[in-house]
Amino acid sequence: MTGPEYAGLGGWTPEKLGVPGEVRPVVTAPEPVLSQPGPEVDPTSAEVVRLAADLVATMRVSPGCVGLAAPQVGVSAQVFAVDVTGHPKAVTVHGTFVLCNARVVEASRWKAGREGCMSVPDLTGDVKRASRLVVEGVLPGTGEPVRLVTDGFEARALQHEIDHCAGLLFLDRVAGAHAIYQRKVYL
């Protein structure tokens, strides 16, 4: 295995951002920002730190939300928050975290699963994702590089959010013509 020697989040929590997050409005498709690849960011900039805190705050007030990416609050940037804590399908759980400039470095054991999205509130879809995943990125605030090894539901959430940062929605990856469904249950 190549890459950095560090593993996990090193005890990072959103409180280390040092700023209170504010809830931002979530945009929905067909808002163009959702289809634009976001640029890499300077993770130490005050703007990115504030964005990271706002993503966490917005994710926390949104029922059932396990991840939120910058384009979903109208900002084209490679920043997202994830928290699958307590989700019944989650196996490995890293708690609440925000990653900047994240990329998938290893992906295997592809499995189909149903996905929804706050930015596509009326539809769900069947999407194949890697259930074993290694992601590298940097933490907002410190800019410290991290390498996350995860699986299952957290891996799916990470791939969904990394896609958002690349301007992709789950709609771009649905399995076929009958793999999109009208949402029946809203959390």
Binding site: A29, P32, L123, G167, L171, D172, I180, Q182
Partner: protein, 170 residues
């Protein structure tokens, strides 16, 4: 044996499938391939049957349409003995603000490249329009088709992706 193409569409209510299937069974029409789904409050059935004469089946379905809420058509078709795949399978996904001509423009690109749409569904939810199509493309043209789709999508202000279909079998 007659092969028949049947369509039934009308305002959705419980019992449309049962009513139509009962007529088919009574006349000895064997239901082979079909899709039956609800589209924005309308129920749509597209069926292929083998059995009776088209005129007999049409007459038998007529009472179902008598209240004006259902439209049923029956047409004799030539059995083609099943269609073989003509290319490599891809999934096309398009999403964006609804506007006229999205399906027309995207499928024309596929057709011009020798592609064949084998399944397609669309959804309009709010102002979001989503098209997902399963397509067979001749070998070696997918990159060029993806490029053309991207250019046409940009003109329409929508996003497009073309990916190889998952052909994994258990």
């Amino acid at each position: 044996m007659n092969e028949l193409a049947i369509t039934v569409i009308g305002r959705d209510r419980p019992g449309i499938v049962a009513d139509v299937a009962e007529v088919l069974a009574r006349l000895g029409a064997n239901l082979t391939d079909s899709t039956m789904t609800r589209l924005r409050g309308h129920f749509a059935m597209t069926l292929i049957c083998v059995g009776p004469a088209a005129a007999d089946l049409e007459a038998a379905l007529a009472p179902l349409a008598a209240d004006g809420h259902l439209l049923a058509t029956v047409r004799a078709v030539t059995p083609d003995g099943g269609s073989e795949p003509t290319g490599e399978p891809y999934v096309l996904a398009v999403h964006g603000a609804d506007r006229m001509g999205i399906v027309a423009a995207m499928t024309r690109v596929l057709t011009d490249a020798g592609g064949n749409v084998t399944d397609l569904s669309t959804r309009l939810t709010g102002s979001l329009y989503v098209v997902v199509a399963e397509v067979e493309l001749p070998p070696g043209v997918s990159d060029e088709v993806a490029g053309r789709l991207t250019r046409v999508a940009a003109e329409l202000g929508v996003g497009v992706s073309l990916r190889p279909a998952d052909t994994d079998l258990l």
